[in-house]
Every structure is written in structure tokens, then in C-alpha cells.
Symmetry: C2
């Protein structure tokens, strides 16, 4: 019934970049409310060193709690083999690896070249295959549309790294506009090129709304055949390079766009607003964004059948 | 060189719906700065009864000032024959008439049915033709994508009224999402239908950002061949039905979207930000919106050639 699949990344990408810590119990309630609203895939945390990112210190506990919620796929981010092992141990259904197409960003973010990072992903695929576990592995090409350090990121590099991730055995590959640099023409061009290279292994668009183009870029990706989107409730997280700008594309607005277009998301907007209230109550001083929360649905609005 | 044409409607649609009055001299400086940024068409005011909308009381003076700025087309709104006559007297290059496709909105907004309103437009075309003056006349089908009073607006009505406006002798016809109800699929469908009915007389998309879809809708319209867009600096004006939501699609973000896609607008983003500063200084307590103003352009950004 769902024609697009939305993965809520607020508990990971949002909270990881937020100014305020959400208590563990509040995270659990929020994730449960997200699932009740119909989100079938939730990126609940990140297996990074807690000293580096205290907001993610409770990820193992959050994964284990999320596994008790029926019907959702529990996703966690890992930056290396060690993080992957912790994610598998906790029971994550899917692990996503960020692989920067920008060399500068890669070295700053994970202290590895993109090629070294892809080596880590390949090692994890081998570990997974040897273990016989069904953990899904996603390779996410980050800074795929530009980088705050390097500026332009060559499209050839994006195609190359996406291809290497597919060849390394990733179950799926995502393209991420980590810093909100993408424009709709570029989205169409790069997704088309990567799809030509790796076919259906190209799955998700991970978009940010830093420059306001989040939904326009999502529309362009949709029209290029993309059916999996990452987004974050309330556009949580912002961007350290753009004070006052929202972070990921906003879940509520993305769901509204698709539903109003007649494209079913499987997500209930009213219940989504309930989940938003829980989130806001848990981090009341955090800036949140979103037009739907302010304006509500149009008179006579019908969700997609 | 310009591949899209943007008409700044902030001084009219924005200020008409703003909570704060902008002084006449500040309006003049702002309009001059907009022209210096490269805006070739500016809707500077509305010839409505000053008692109804005090913010528009100085429109004749503003039109006359704007006429002294070289290279811009000066647009004014008129709701009837009397307003048209005042606009022509002031010297406006172009007059736009709002014709609600929603019967409820039409009766509430101009106390006429859409058909009666089109009769007024036809009378103005005849006056113009008899006078031999070159004043351009635009018929704008408002609430073309939905109405806060009526809810859904039948697409057949939009096609019908657009056709009647073209037949009444309008030089161009616009479709307006007056209350921010449109979605990209609907934009494509309705623009396609109206273009099939009236061809190249269909010109501008007037979009609001109330539900955050302003840029996505602009993208959809662009991809349907629309090359004329109305927008408002800072998303000025908001919406009385959606507190906290921006008004028109935001000029700065629209320009950025097109320029980043390689579509020249003829507008200089740095100078646009200067014009924004003047606007903010003139109505400092008015809520303004826009991602570009917060985030700036991407590193290595190049405007379209």
C-alpha cells in the first residue's frame, strides 16, 4: 500500500546534532509514538564513542527497546567495524555506514579516506555473511552533493564510491545531502547516474533542508524513481554551519507533500503530530521546524488511499 | 539571458497581509533596492479602498516613484474598474485582477461572483483598448488550488475562469495558490490543463508557502514550462489562517533554487540580501522567513551564467 517509504532519522541524525539531550525514557516513548504513527523504519541511534557524542550513549538500550515494538525496522548508524559489532550485538535490523564522498569531510569525520571507510564496510559485510545473521547493511554516500569543507564534490566520485559500496556487498546504497547543498537538477542528475551504475541497490535519499530545498529535492528524487526517504521530525538537529536553519528534511511536511499528491506513505498525520508533541515536550528548548505543525492540513484534505 | 522571470510581490501581497505598516519612504527605498538586485517586475501596491487596507493607501505615490526607476515593470493590483482607473492614472505598466475560482472566496473578497468579476476585467480591457494606452492586463485565478472557506475548488472551474479571462482579452493569465493548499502533482495537472485551454496566455504561478511546499510547487510548475513566478521577499505577509506560517514563496530561496539549478534569474543574491536588510529595518517587528538569509550560499556556489 505504501508507495514511498520514510525512515525517521530524528532519534539519530536529529538528536546527534541537537543542542539538548533527550532522556532515554523520553526517546523510548517518542520512538513508540513514531511507530504508532506508521513509521516502519526508524534510525534510533549511532554506535559512536559516547565520549564523542554523549547524546548517543544510550543507543544499545534504545535499540533493544525499539526491538520490542512490533512492525518496525530498527536502524542504527555505525562508523566502523567496532560500531557495527555493537549494533549487531544490540540486535539492530539494519546498520547504515556514512561514507563521505568528500575526502576532506571523510578525514575529518571518521579519520579515514573514503576507500578505507569502504574497506570497513566490506569487512562488516564479511562478518555478517560469516555469522549468518540477517542484518541489513546500507552504505550511505554522504556529502554527495557538496561539502562545507571541500565545496564541490565531483559527481564522478559519488558514482565511484556508490559503485564500490554496492560491490562491497551492501544491501542498499543511499545518497546523502549531508550539509543541504543539493538542488533539484543535481538530485536528478546524480541519482540517475548512480542508478545507471548500480541499479536497484540505489535506494534512499537522505536530504537536509538547510537551504530550504528539502522538499523540492525530495520531489525531484521521487520523480527520478526514488521511493525511500530519510527525514527527521521537526527538522530536528539544525546544522552547526547554518545557525537557525533546520536539519533534515522535515518528516511532517514530507508526509504531507506525498499524501497530498496522492502517494500513500502509510503514515497518519494526526498521530505524527502526537509524536511531535512528545518530542517537543522532551526537549522543550530545542528549536523545531515544520509548516504542517503551524498550518495544519487544508480544508477538505484527504490522505492518499 | 533570464530563463525565469520573477515578480516581487512583497510590497503588495506581503505588506497587505503584514502586521506592521511600512512607511512610504521606506517602501520607496526597498523597491529601489529590489530593482538594483535585478528584479525586473515589482508589484508595488493595490488600488483598493484605503479604509479597507490602510497599508495600501499610498499606492499611487509608490507607483509614481517606481516609474522613475529605470528598467522595471511596475505592477499594481486592482479589484474592479475603479481600481483599474486609478492604476492607469498613476501610470502602472501592468494591472493584475484577482478572480477567485472559489465562489465563496470571491463573494467574500470582492462581493462579486467570479463571472461578475470577469465582467469587470472585460470592461477594463475595453477601456484600455479604447484609450490606446499600453497598460498590460493580467487575470489571476486565485484560490485555484483550494480555498480555506470552500475547501476543494473544482479544476474544471479553474480551467473555465482562466479561459474566460483569456477570452475577455487579458494579456496574460496567472494561477494563484492564494492560501497555500497546492501540491506538486496538482500544480502539474492544473497548469497542464489550463495551458491546453489557453496556450501561451497562461503565464505566472503565484505560490504561497503556507504548508512548506512553495519551492516544490515552483519546481513542478517550472518543469511544466512555467517561466514567470510571483514571490515575496522574506516570505512576508504570513497567512491569517496559519499563524507562524510564511506567506508567499520566498524570493531569496526561489532565486537560490533556480540559480543553483543553472537557471538564470537575472537577480543578484548578494544585492537581494541588501534589499532584505532594508525591508527588515523598515518593519523590524514583522516575522520574516527564508533559509538563504540564515544559511548563505554553499561553498563554491556559482550563480547561473
Amino acid at each position: 500500500m505504501r508507495q514511498v517509504h520514510i525512515c525517521e532519522v530524528g532519534p539519530r541524525d536529529g538528536l546527534q546534532n541537537a543542542h539538548h539531550l533527550m532522556p532515554t525514557e523520553a526517546k523510548k516513548r517518542w520512538i513508540r509514538a513514531l511507530a504508532e504513527a506508521g513509521l516502519e523504519e526508524i534510525e534510533v541511534g549511532s554506535f559512536v564513542p559516547p565520549k564523542l557524542i554523549p547524546a548517543m550513549a544510550d543507543t544499545a538500550e534504545i535499540v533493544q527497546h525499539a526491538l520490542t515494538i512490533p512492525g518496525i525496522r530498527v536502524v542504527a548508524l555505525a562508523p566502523n567495524v567496532k560500531g557495527f559489532q555493537r549494533a549487531v550485538e544490540a540486535g539492530a535490523h539494519k546498520v547504515t555506514f556514512p561514507v563521505s564522498a568528500s575526502r576532506k569531510h571523510s578525514e575529518s569525520n571518521v579519520r579515514m579516506t573514503p576507500e578505507q571507510m569502504i574497506g570497513q564496510v566490506k569487512a562488516c559485510v564479511e562478518l555478517r555473511d560469516a555469522s549468518g545473521k540477517p542484518t541489513l547493511i546500507e552504505g550511505a554516500v554522504s556529502t554527495a552533493f557538496g561539502c562545507t569543507m571541500q565545496g564541490e564534490v565531483p559527481e564522478d566520485d559519488v558514482v565511484k564510491f556508490a559503485t564500490m559500496l554496492a560491490e562491497a556487498g551492501c544491501d542498499c546504497v543511499a545518497l546523502a545531502d549531508t550539509v543541504g547543498y543539493a538542488n533539484p537538477a543535481q538530485i536528478r542528475r546524480v541519482f540517475r547516474r548512480v542508478r545507471a551504475a548500480i541499479g536497484a541497490k540505489l535506494e534512499a535519499a537522505h536530504l537536509h533542508n538547510t537551504r530550504g530545498l528539502g522538499l523540492a529535492n525530495a520531489l525531484a528524487a521521487y520523480e527520478e524513481g526514488v521511493r525511500h526517504f530519510d527525514s527527521s521530525m521537526g527538522g530536528l538537529g539544525g546544522c552547526p554551519f547554518a545557525p537557525g536553519a533546520s536539519g533534515n528534511v522535515i518528516t511532517e511536511d514530507l508526509v504531507f507533500m506525498f499524501e497530498s499528491m496522492g502517494v500513500p506513505t502509510g503514515i497518519d498525520l494526526d498521530k505524527l503530530m502526537e509524536a511531535r508533541k512528545l518530542m517537543v515536550a522532551a526537549i522543550p528548548d530545542e528549536p523545531v521546524y515544520g509548516h504542517m505543525a503551524l498550518a495544519g492540513v487544508p480544508k477538505g484534505f484527504r490522505a492518499a488511499a
